[in-house]
Symmetry: C2
Subunit: 203 residues, 2 copies
């Protein structure tokens, strides 16, 4: 049985979303049919607005509708710290955790030989330029804790050679709330290697 | 941190899809940002087309862009059989299985006291009318195998009282390819109750 063309077409568009297969895409298309027409119109308008109004911040690469973005423009942010992330999604996760008050630099990619992906040299150059031009004291590299993230990390530090900025990386170790029983061996190894000396703790 | 307004808005629209939560909706919105603008435009157009070009078939309630739908209009279909389903999604699943060659009748709902949902009396009336006006010999009730489906089933047969059409229901039993070990007790009970007599099999 062939579905009506408009239904078939929307399903094939929905299937291009990550993690959405045939069945989910079909359920979404039927949801559009069952909801009032205003739902489809709001989504259509939202899609076009999203593409037309948002762009990467010219300074840090965060997704924004103003330039520079609200983070780069915030006078209460610590301008001596720049956290380097792979994507704007990672930036948003950090902001929503509310644990960091410095600036960001979004690479918009990672080093992945398997996916034939390289870092955009402009993004590395603009990071170096920010370090040189502004009073950045520390670059915190927050690439994802996996092979691609590590390769990305090494590429960033080799690019920053010759600058005297302090460079750090997020700690690897046991995820808080997790359990040792289920920790994988690489994480356990990292937790051992980076164990914290407690000599100075009162006993 | 508040996200840019167009991003926030599209995420809240995506969250109205069944099974899509905050994280998935955010990933979808970012996917729209990362894909070329043509993706957003195709989806926007698809959404509007879907709502404007598709409607329920006037005869059976199937989703269609022509009237009557391609199933009702198909001269090779067995017009003596009408399969009653809760939704057009169910109809599509059956068509894709390719195991049935009769007509359909989509109720567009079910009896669900918990969700305060009732059957549309017009759909029941039009089913009765099809039985009376046309040479329908058998109504196959294919409501979902759960409480709401059974309530719907009883409502349909009580509505068809007074007609002499044959009425049947899909068999309940072990799903083929499943295992008895993991079958629930209601399914096992149904499988016992509806056990098939093998006296006539050669031995």
């Amino acid at each position: 049985m062939s579905l009506p063309e408009p239904l078939e077409r929307l399903i094939s568009v929905f299937k291009r979303f990550p993690g959405i297969g045939e069945k989910s895409a079909r359920r979404m298309a039927f949801c559009v049919l069952q909801q009032p027409e205003s739902f489809a119109l709001a989504m259509a308008e939202g899609l076009i607005d999203l593409r037309r109004k948002l762009h990467p911040c010219a300074v840090c690469g965060n997704i924004t509708d103003i330039d520079p973005c609200s983070i780069c423009d915030d006078p209460f942010r610590d301008r001596t710290l720049v956290c380097v992330v792979e994507s704007a999604e990672d930036l948003i996760s950090m902001e929503q955790a509310g644990i960091y008050n410095g600036l960001y630099h979004v690479l918009g990619g990672k080093v992945s030989p398997l996916e034939d992906e390289e870092l955009d040299p402009d993004k590395l150059q603009s990071l170096k330029q920010r370090v040189i031009d502004l009073s950045v004291q520390e670059i915190i590299i927050a690439t994802n804790p996996r092979i691609e993230g590590d390769l990305t990390f090494f590429e960033i530090i080799s690019y920053l050679k010759g600058t005297d900025v302090r460079i750090s990386r997020l700690a690897y170790g046991l995820p808080v709330g997790g359990s040792i029983e289920f920790a994988d061996r690489v994480t356990l190894h990292a937790a051992f290697e980076s164990r914290v000396n407690l000599d100075k703790y009162p006993r």
